[in-house]
């Protein structure tokens, strides 16, 4: 079930692309929450899922998962800028929201936790309609202390729902370190209380994350119920762009920067001869061009006018 060399290379591309997209957003949005350093969890979790699987990514890194689902870069940037060409026509913030037509469930409000329940509902729908699709939801260590986490996972366990819960444990909830907010050592330890498998995985190793999620998804497809996975990583930056993270020792972040998942995978790919050092620059340049073209298009796109406000568009009409 391990990734082939070709798959590893494509996962690497998503990770690099994801980081470059986030770096571009960082320049235009001070309250953006980047996932720099956490790309292995995001890409490993949502890599190679089926189109009919429902993905419910954590807000930190959501755009990377949306790109993997085939979302348009231009429309995603338009979402950041509130342009009419965005998936919501500018009605909603684009940094935490993706379209359902790509089988993405985004966040519809700022509170953490409800996405776990919504994902559980998507898995319930899959079970009721007797398809073998699964739901995969990721969330932070902080979110795992909300009631929604406990209630959703227990419900999925008793109903044996086809869902994988992945904790993107970056060890911080804003300023609060996970070691001070969790009564247990790992979020996966809690699985025993729900009677489901709990798995710990190195969150900076994209192949390991993917392997764990893939195995859990296969079990879910066969009707064996949910799995709770903790992928341990580290938030190397602040909670958001404007947060200097002065509340923690700088050396700690420095140590983790050395474990950067992209650098780590790149080295591995070069070692096994799948990636040539001289190819990297060209690859990055192509991505950069793609990103700046999308940003430019989005910047040139129109802002929504009065007709988008939709004073009579609160209820769905009869279908």
């Amino acid at each position: 079930m391990a990734l082939t060399n070709e798959e590893l290379l494509s996962a690497y591309r998503y990770m690099v692309m994801g980081r470059m997209v986030e770096e571009a957003i960082t320049k235009i949005k001070g309250n953006y929450h980047p996932a720099i350093g956490e790309e292995a969890v995001i890409v490993g979790t949502f890599y190679n899922l089926r189109k009919d699987d429902v993905i419910v990514p954590h807000y930190r890194g959501a755009l990377i998962a949306y790109i993997m689902r085939g979302a348009s870069l231009r429309r995603l940037f338009a979402g950041i800028l509130g342009k009419e060409t965005s998936y919501t026509r500018g009605r909603y913030r684009g940094d935490i929201w993706g379209p359902l037509e790509l089988n993405i469930i985004g966040m519809y409000a700022g509170a953490l936790g409800p996405t776990l329940s919504l994902a559980t509902g998507a898995a319930l729908a899959a079970k009721l309609t007797k398809t073998d699709s699964v739901a995969v939801v990721s969330f932070g260590d902080g979110t795992s202390n909300r009631g929604d986490f406990h209630e959703a996972i227990n419900l999925a366990s008793v109903l044996k729902l086809p869902i994988v819960y992945v904790c993107q444990n970056n060890q911080f909830a804003v300023s609060t370190p996970a070691c001070k907010a969790l009564g247990c050592h790992s979020v996966a330890d809690r699985a025993i209380g729900y009677g489901i498998p709990g798995v710990n995985v190195d969150g900076n190793d994209v192949a390991a994350v993917h392997e764990a999620v893939k195995e859990a998804a296969n079990m879910a497809r066969k009707g064996s119920g949910p799995t709770l996975i903790q992928a341990l990583t580290y938030r190397v930056g602040g909670h958001m762009v404007a947060d200097p993270a002065v509340y923690r020792p700088a050396e700690e972040a420095e140590e983790w920067r050395k474990k950067d998942p992209i650098a780590r995978l790149q080295k591995e790919l070069i070692n096994i001869g799948v990636l040539l050092e001289r190819e990297i620059e060209g690859m990055r340049k192509n991505m950069e061009e793609e990103i700046s073209a999308a940003v430019k298009q989005a910047e040139g796109d129109p802002l929504p006018g009065e007709q988008v406000l939709g004073l009579d568009d609160v209820f769905a009409p009869a279908n």
């Binding site: 500018g90 909300r146 929504p304 009065e306 406000l309």
Partner: protein, 325 residues
């Protein structure tokens, strides 16, 4: 005198109350070394951290509020912080179904001296802006405070902490770091349930709270150049509502505009209007006009957001409308 922002006044009030009463403690997310989101608790950790009275919690809103209520029942005076008002949805059971009815159901035996403070309002942050105060005022037993100035924020926060009932203190994010105001060195409190006339006028009464007081004052300033004198009544406390001040102002002007950032349909402005219609219909020279957002979720994009939110221009046209009759 000291010049303070709204945020500094709020923190100052909590600091002084913590010094005054050792039963006062803080419970919430990122309120320790971090100093609170948007500096909502800045400097308190440095002074009180060692005493164990500033408690950083996991992201567990219902437990934070439930624990606050429980501690208050046992005689403590918690100030619980829910980062943003939109998270009130997560704590409505503990707040609006449990805490609010304890004094009444215990036949006057159980007090819940708790303050729930939270940030809201469309502002520079552009997130978590929802104004849910109208949900809260529907519930008997909850006091709801929405200050518009640093001076009021200080005096009202002190009263809220000293109050023996659950008080929800809604802090507007756009006001947080904006204006500075002279604050007396000497201690003062502002009673809950008393409105304030922020500008006197004889022609029209505008009732508003929090950020909307400032837009109303701007509208009043503009219109005074045209010879229209607008009286701006700042409710300050939406529940219990100061009917006396509103009715006295209306008696003088005979015309009423109500402004708020919460949705118009089912909003507290409807309660002000209904109260006036019931108790002072004869004083009205024109139909009441409400200025409040339309019945749609808060739109994100800047031009949509601007269309959505009440502002000076919308308040001015509402005033002109009530004057036309």
């Amino acid at each position: 005198m000291r010049r303070m922002t709204y945020q500094e006044a709020l923190v100052g009030a909590i600091r002084e109350e913590m010094r005054r009463d050792s039963r006062v403690f803080l419970l919430g997310e990122d309120i320790g070394i971090f100093g609170g989101p948007m500096m909502s608790a800045k400097g308190l950790w440095e002074e009180f951290g060692a005493t164990g009275r500033i408690i950083d919690t996991p992201i567990s809103e219902s437990a934070i509020v439930g624990a606050g209520v429980g501690a208050a029942m046992m005689g403590m005076r918690p100030v619980v912080e829910i980062m943003f008002g939109e998270f009130l949805a997560l704590v409505m059971q503990q707040l609006a179904c449990d805490a609010s009815c304890m004094w009444y159901y215990s036949a006057g035996k159980t007090r819940v001296p708790m303050v729930l403070r939270t940030k809201f309002g469309v502002g520079p942050h552009r997130g978590h802006e929802l104004d849910y105060h109208s949900w809260l005022i529907h519930v008997p037993g909850l006091k709801v405070v929405m200050p518009s100035t640093p001076y009021d924020a200080m005096g009202l926060m002190k009263s809220a902490i000293r109050d023996d009932n659950p008080v929800v203190f809604l802090e507007h994010m756009n006001l947080y770091h904006w204006i500075r105001q002279e604050i007396p060195e000497d201690e003062y409190t502002i009673p809950l349930g008393v409105a304030d006339i922020k500008r006197e006028g004889r022609d029209v009464t505008v009732v508003a709270m929090a950020m909307m007081v400032h837009h109303s004052l701007d509208a009043a300033e503009d219109l005074s150049k045209e010879g229209v004198e607008v009286e701006v009544v700042d409710l300050r406390t939406v529940a219990p509502m100061d009917k006396t001040t509103v009715l006295a102002s209306l008696k003088k002007t005979g015309r009423l505009v109500v402004v708020h950032e919460a949705w118009k349909f089912g909003g507290s402005g409807g309660e002000v209007a209904a109260m006036v219609a019931e108790e002072a219909f004869g004083d009205l020279k024109a139909p009441i006009v409400r200025v409040a957002p339309p019945q749609i979720p808060i739109p994100f994009s800047t031009p949509l957001n601007k269309m959505y939110l009440p502002d000076k221009q919308k308040i001015k046209s509402a005033i002109r409308k009530v004057l036309a009759k």
